[in-house]
Symmetry: D2
Subunit: 128 residues, 4 copies
């Protein structure tokens, strides 16, 4: 993450075969009117959690790219809390990887603030 | 935009009844490996173009929030060019507004780099 | 189901607080070229599983309607096997219910053939 | 359509480079409670319109399969009217074709009842 996305402040919290966790500290630049975290901040952390899932399964392939992302926003995240995104692989295909991502306000892991489904396309050279 | 999202560098280019255009100048912080514009940058400009469509139809309602965003990434944007996003309303409902957004690299308006469909929920107090 | 959708051959297999299962027997009318089950058959069973989740949580409200459905097709279902769809509520909101649906070929519950996320809008009169 | 989907009552109305029209006559089996056309009927005609777009661009390839479908339901179709679906290609890629589909009640082409975005995967042997 530091090499490829030096400008990002998202941190990889944990990765294993079953899931990947990403954490986005929330600062003033992530807020929106109404004192809540902006949609683009949530989309970025969803995309990153999915990317970590992809890399953890196919190896460090910088050219894997998102082909589709669908996100539902469920409730307001708390303005003062970091976002945590948990990515779970739904399908590890030859041409693409489908990942489910649940996003939470830190400290409230029982109620996701958003839910995303993300497809990454795998470059031909790295297909399994 | 300047009032509500002071940290954003997205500029409203044009708004009328039929469409809204947003422009995202592209700098180093928007790039990703492979020398192209990052997915989150495209998602942010898509969300903003949809927000402009919503506000232009229901008035300046800071509490309108995205409820669903679906985006397909079609081709690599050019690293050195700004992104332009054109939002077109598909459905102006009482409870929600559905907007289609085509995203382009500036200077190449014949081939979108991404296509999004965005739903904004309208707060009860502002329903028409 | 029998009352409201007499033409459907989908059967409710099981419903509780956590999940709802629907089963679609597969006959000649559900197949498509290549000897597999058609996409529309899978979309119908996904929509039905989500509908059962909705009704099991808000009561028998015939006017609840799908507002958004996003489905990813993951692998070919087997032509000779029934489809099973498991609906799990992701968010039970006042205005809408979001449900995740995994679809399987009967007998192969470890590998979903499709994954859907379905939003139902709740009519105002039945909001909680 | 008659060869590959003999059970379908959907008719191809028109196809050219820019768009494809499919028509679904509506009978008792397509209705749902509230006297309107069912969601699965609309999803089936959306998928078919996208399939026609795909075949009209890559040739008669029976093994092209839907990989993702996202649909937003906008208003109630009229129970007594056929559905018309207009498919428009958004992106003709080597590995996939993305199509936008607007669905209408016949005679009311100014207000779509639903809007879908459909991705078809192209089998390797027929890639251009």
């Amino acid at each position: 993450m530091r090499d490829q996305f030096p400008q990002s402040t998202i941190v990889v919290e944990k990765v294993d075969e079953q899931e990947a966790w990403a954490r986005q500290p929330v600062g003033a630049s992530h807020l929106r009117p109404g004192g809540t975290v902006s949609g683009p901040t949530m989309m970025a952390v969803a995309d990153t959690a999915a990317y970590i899932v992809v890399l953890s399964h196919i190896g460090i392939v910088p050219l894997a790219v998102t082909s589709n992302l669908n996100i539902n926003f469920l409730r307001k995240p708390e303005a003062g809390k970091a976002l945590l995104a948990k990515g779970t692989p739904l399908h590890l295909g030859r041409r693409s990887v489908l990942t489910e991502v649940n996003i939470y306000s830190e400290g409230q892991l029982e109620k996701p603030v958003a839910h995303a489904v993300v497809t990454y396309a795998i470059p031909s050279s790295r297909r399994r």
